[in-house]
Symmetry: D3
Subunit: 332 residues, 6 copies
Amino acid sequence: MTNHGNMYGPAFTFLGIPACDLDVPATYKGADVIIVGAPIDSGTSHRSGAKFGPQAIRGGDYLPHDGQRPHLALRTDGLKDLKVFDAGDLLMPGGDLVKSLVVLREATEKISRAGAIAVVLGGDHSIASADVAGIANHLGRGKVSMVHFDAHADTGEDQWGALVGHGTPMRNLINDGYVRGDRFLQLGLRGYWPDNATLEWMRDQGMRSYEMTEIHHRGLKAVLDESFATLTDGCDGVFLSVDIDVVDPGMAPGTGTPEPGGMTSRELLEAVRRICLELPVVGIDVVEVAPAFDSADITAILANRVVLEALSAIAKRRSGSAYNPTQNLLDR
Amino acid sequence: MTNHGNMYGPAFTFLGIPACDLDVPATYKGADVIIVGAPIDSGTSHRSGAKFGPQAIRGGDYLPHDGQRPHLALRTDGLKDLKVFDAGDLLMPGGDLVKSLVVLREATEKISRAGAIAVVLGGDHSIASADVAGIANHLGRGKVSMVHFDAHADTGEDQWGALVGHGTPMRNLINDGYVRGDRFLQLGLRGYWPDNATLEWMRDQGMRSYEMTEIHHRGLKAVLDESFATLTDGCDGVFLSVDIDVVDPGMAPGTGTPEPGGMTSRELLEAVRRICLELPVVGIDVVEVAPAFDSADITAILANRVVLEALSAIAKRRSGSAYNPTQNLLDR
Amino acid sequence: MTNHGNMYGPAFTFLGIPACDLDVPATYKGADVIIVGAPIDSGTSHRSGAKFGPQAIRGGDYLPHDGQRPHLALRTDGLKDLKVFDAGDLLMPGGDLVKSLVVLREATEKISRAGAIAVVLGGDHSIASADVAGIANHLGRGKVSMVHFDAHADTGEDQWGALVGHGTPMRNLINDGYVRGDRFLQLGLRGYWPDNATLEWMRDQGMRSYEMTEIHHRGLKAVLDESFATLTDGCDGVFLSVDIDVVDPGMAPGTGTPEPGGMTSRELLEAVRRICLELPVVGIDVVEVAPAFDSADITAILANRVVLEALSAIAKRRSGSAYNPTQNLLDR
Amino acid sequence: MTNHGNMYGPAFTFLGIPACDLDVPATYKGADVIIVGAPIDSGTSHRSGAKFGPQAIRGGDYLPHDGQRPHLALRTDGLKDLKVFDAGDLLMPGGDLVKSLVVLREATEKISRAGAIAVVLGGDHSIASADVAGIANHLGRGKVSMVHFDAHADTGEDQWGALVGHGTPMRNLINDGYVRGDRFLQLGLRGYWPDNATLEWMRDQGMRSYEMTEIHHRGLKAVLDESFATLTDGCDGVFLSVDIDVVDPGMAPGTGTPEPGGMTSRELLEAVRRICLELPVVGIDVVEVAPAFDSADITAILANRVVLEALSAIAKRRSGSAYNPTQNLLDR
Amino acid sequence: MTNHGNMYGPAFTFLGIPACDLDVPATYKGADVIIVGAPIDSGTSHRSGAKFGPQAIRGGDYLPHDGQRPHLALRTDGLKDLKVFDAGDLLMPGGDLVKSLVVLREATEKISRAGAIAVVLGGDHSIASADVAGIANHLGRGKVSMVHFDAHADTGEDQWGALVGHGTPMRNLINDGYVRGDRFLQLGLRGYWPDNATLEWMRDQGMRSYEMTEIHHRGLKAVLDESFATLTDGCDGVFLSVDIDVVDPGMAPGTGTPEPGGMTSRELLEAVRRICLELPVVGIDVVEVAPAFDSADITAILANRVVLEALSAIAKRRSGSAYNPTQNLLDR
Amino acid sequence: MTNHGNMYGPAFTFLGIPACDLDVPATYKGADVIIVGAPIDSGTSHRSGAKFGPQAIRGGDYLPHDGQRPHLALRTDGLKDLKVFDAGDLLMPGGDLVKSLVVLREATEKISRAGAIAVVLGGDHSIASADVAGIANHLGRGKVSMVHFDAHADTGEDQWGALVGHGTPMRNLINDGYVRGDRFLQLGLRGYWPDNATLEWMRDQGMRSYEMTEIHHRGLKAVLDESFATLTDGCDGVFLSVDIDVVDPGMAPGTGTPEPGGMTSRELLEAVRRICLELPVVGIDVVEVAPAFDSADITAILANRVVLEALSAIAKRRSGSAYNPTQNLLDR
């Protein structure tokens, strides 16, 4: 009865890469990366719409969907130099969020056990509590560190009385032991949430959380420089969680809880590139793209580029070749 | 922690009428009508966004929100001639649809026991399985008949495997005995759903379901004429459920599952007026208004007018004065 | 300092017709029709934006702006068979509405004295109190009858305490003696305004006001049939005032105070054609087009067609040739 | 280098039906219907954007893309009861319109020779000059009659000096002998184009062209009744060409040259159903859907329904079972 | 007849803070801050729509409207640590701008005399000539200095011949002696207005006006550093006037006269924070938010944050506690 | 039959400057600058719509269209200090791109021979292959150097098999000898196109192409500093080609192939100013503005400002007066 390729729309893969079926291991044998959609938005506390994020991110591009994307600056092709498959969208109805998150956790665990990096297209941020957990189930609890881009800390104790929701996943991950609080990096926080009690809880966990004003005054480079060493101390892999609302709403309006004063698109893309060049990324999610509030698809296209930038950098890292951002494009 | 007046935004009442608190009976003593919001959309099978329906419907007007609305044609004021309160929005988070629907069912039962007509602002249509049930719990199972405007029959057996959802409420109401299948009138069906097995189930229940082509060829008046007598045969009250997608998407684009070829706004408003003038309405819901897809608020304003038209006609019916639609406005 | 061709944007004429300057009679010598813009919206009680109506109506077309428009059905060219000029936009700043309306009144009086039909592109409906007055100043007070399409009667006693505004022009015109109340036809009223006291005042003036339900039940043709004779009884000319909100918001969303349940575009166009074929029209205004709320310019294009339909029919009436709407296009 | 499934975006089939490759006959063996996209808009005289029509029409639905659509009223499934394939989009770059139209003409000829009905998703209306020609190349010049829904006659002599364009296809088809002028039915014309010389040319060809005013006064049923017999007189098949702008822009804003005063969505769907039930349709195109100007996808969804309505009716016609539109849905 | 809470829509307070009535001093006894709406846009020279600014700014948030907002970085709550009330919208019809501005001037004078900071939500910028004047009437003419963020100098001599308008308020304030020209700081100017004569007048008044290129080359910090000392030299308080168009239209599209090349949202928020931390702010207005041109409410949310950032910083300043922007959030 | 002033809409000039007719030299005698529109978009590989760019750029402003624009910072008036004319739009139908490009090439050659700077409003970027060629035909092949702002290199070998298109103009210009590869500066490249073979071709030509990451790390100033000397080495003039998609889609959404991570509007405007102050500009095009995807006209207004900034700086350069960007506006 359902469309297994894409829960809420036509079935097509990320920019034309080959499809796979998570229930049939032969279809993703030897995969480096498996992309999967988590089309759910009932965890959001405000504007819904992120369940169409996977569809918008997959299609957010103006070039032919031919399964290749040579990266201009890095001179790698994240879709060809790596073996990448698209497993379609998981069946995650919104009416029972807890049950749907189990489906996702089992999927990323399966992907991780297959030796592949899971790239999860959200959906609201409640999915992080499941997709990271699935990977940690394979790699070991506490063995995965987090790099988390977001306007919001997502460390709430509950949401409307429920434990799951897009305001609580990071607390759940720490409370459940999947991720250590002192291996948790947050970038881009701002605004008027959470309250002091939650901030104290965060401090007690040893989290490292940078709000935009500190980044504004110290620079994003300095902030990343002081954080990277910690992330690989005692952890085997890094999970990169990108809430698109880390970018200023002026550049990424298509999201549910927009908070002004964020990063530029360029800053996010540069940071994602550096993280994937320098750290052993084992999983990625890109969340909170809500196409109904987008303008000319710019938010969806940005999220598409976050995925491509990450895959291109991972391919570059695996190639072992050098990269100097100030060297001219045509001199490489 | 929550805003009890309006779950997802600023708190204000329907066009400025007095607020009440369902937990404090003194605040709605003597009420003829109580409006309540059901801001949930996790029951939808496609585009979410209807959880902002209550806010959009309450505010969908260009006149001062002064708690009065003299009806030009009927010469009654549905907000002043009746005693109408707004109970705000219920706390209905989307992540647990079943639990949230219980909250709504209890609310409409409370309103009905207080002797008032419940007017529920949706939300997706899954709420009908709860708001009608609440009233039937008070008036008696099988004692409430249904008039249901919709592009879709909403009689699915399940939705993504779940019993609740916006595709199943009418089957649930009949299966659970709240409403008799042979006291169930459906108007405006069209399109490519449900399948034959479901249509046969509907026939077996004795439902009376009119698709648009029959209405197009026979006229809406003829269709209503042949149905009204049945609705009050053995039933004490009529519940009016208006899915705004019964109107053509050209005139009501702000909805989640738009099906072309529907009624005009005028046809719907005329039919609602007649139903409330001629039948003993005990409850109303107006559902599936999704503001994110609206154009210049026209769908929200239409839904606002469905409520006003209904209340104006109920006031007229209670006044006992005559009404002739072909008599000139200034000759009344 | 100002742009005399178009107050709020680039200067261009209605579909490319010749420009004229109201201060230089030689530029519009022998004119049958003079189009003029009244770009003001400070008389509106809700959404502003109608001051860009003139610009949107002039440009609302997809054919080359070549100053000609052969009418498919009538076989006339309203822009070529008549001598039509565009006088650009009047300088009507919004901060002093009373003063700006004087500018407009003087302009239409000048046009009328030049023997031309004034076609005024609004602007909010407050302008009707001035543009009709200007014509009546020339033809004689009480000598001009009105045909008024609108969702609203616009007969309010005041607006926020002021006499001028888009809710009061029709009362002002009658109170000031420009138009006789018993030569005043209103079509398309609906909704929840004005109150009973105002309706009684309207009845006392002998106005003939048809709300949509009466039109729905009796038909627009019947309603027009019974009204036309009166309009030319003792009056020398008819002023046609078209508030675009007479059309259903589904078909004309680009307006400030949309009221659901209106006419279709087709009904309005057919009625305008018939009025201009059968009655001695001396002035026209088309008001309340607010482009900021429009969708793909459909409201602006509709208003453009109201003007073209009127001019085409006036040209047909002046040609004296017969017209039968049921005769086939290619058999004419 | 190109994406053969969909020229300008992700590749997916119409509502999930099987794909085929026009170059590989085995992939569409036994086909009843083959859908193909013609993504080109350089023939348009105004707003471009129709090249994304095929993508929007294929995806314009809220139900799972599962390759089936049971028709509520007709009790057939146009996608299952017929053998339907989607051949993807043809490679039709806009810079050389003449060359791209040859590609389309060869495609529909191939489909027709395979014994299938071609359903072409446009694209601007210039494609009709090619898709009809391809079928006539197989069935015989003059052996295909036309039913053409449109606001515009599309019989211009040239466009900006070129023979091809969306204003000229019908003249080209007649001039080139593909279709006889006296087997050419046009429905829905209105507005201010073409000029008298062209209308006289149309009359001289024996065309039967109905403008909206005649339809308004006589009724669509009467107009169809008097036309059907002619269409099958000496012709073996009927081509149905639906320019979506035949519908009022209020209900179908997503198009390039919107002309107010059109049909309702319901009228178009009813007419398409009747035509496909009563006439031997051999080809269909649905054109001028320009998603950039759409509102909440309503125009794309309407075009999707035109295709589904046609296929459902063709399946019904082939089944030989009776259909009475006034019989109740549940009594069938 | 009017809605005293919100002139043009539903009545609700800024993020749920308590309401007060300016006519009843007891309702705002002990207030630190009083928010009031100035819903007028007839002073604009181009796109109207700013009269809905107050409604959009009050509701521009995704968190529950519960009257509290703990500031993540400053660790204060601008709504709880200060005593803040919302006085609703003033009755300021657009047709008589001069008269409406008097209403506003009297309101801010009343607020200032009550010892509270007035926060005025505009409305177009013409309101600055009144809201600053009201405060200066209490604190003394020439005793209030100005910090003015804007793309435009707003020092025009007249506008369409009138003294009031959104292009003239700053000249009026100086000419009328409310503010000294040499205590007037302007930030963010750019574009093609005003002319040289006006620039010379500005220089003659001793104004300090920074255009974006100077800020771009020297840095916003340097520019603020050299200005702050002057502002408190001989003045008792600072008025902060924020025209939202100081931000680049890419990040704040919802405004009437957008000028490309502006500040980022982040720059504005950082500057507002610093000003309210370091200077004795006595009044604030946030103007020119025109929701009809906004995209996903991002401009309204930004304006909401300007207010919150200011109130949070004022609370921090009053608390006397230290603040170091480079100290980590969780180390405070 | 066509409108010679503006191919696809009403005819008006750039901000009200005088019109001229390229066929009548007397109408542009002594011109310093001639603006001309190239309304074509059939060269685009994705979203069409740029053919309405000329209309949107001409009208993209909120000040009166009075033919003057005093530049706040430079104290020149690019429209008055230079003699500027607007030649309207060229007749360039999209169906035959090759033929239409010839029309454009002849136009810029004519403008160049008249001693004026051609400012071409696109249109998609395929026009650059023609407008630069026209100027080089006059000044000499290889005598014009290029400064090219773009997200894309536009050096593709072909597009869908055709030589012309918006992906190939820069290769055509070099291949045809109009511009030397080693006098070709590209700024703002990013994303996933073109492939390595093309990059190698670019290197072989001696092109200097800066992608955004290099600009991000080194600064735009450093990049310009190292390039300017080369551009005038052996060349007599510089052509400035600005593809608006060089700016981040967040700030310039109204374009066909948006690539995230671009320049800010401010960076582009500052760079254009400097180029026109320091280099001998002989031609300009501003391309790829597609209004259908714009938000509140911000992209069109930005493009309008690119033209104004360029003309203001050219006027300043010709005046010979000094300019220091860090000197205060009021101290000049």
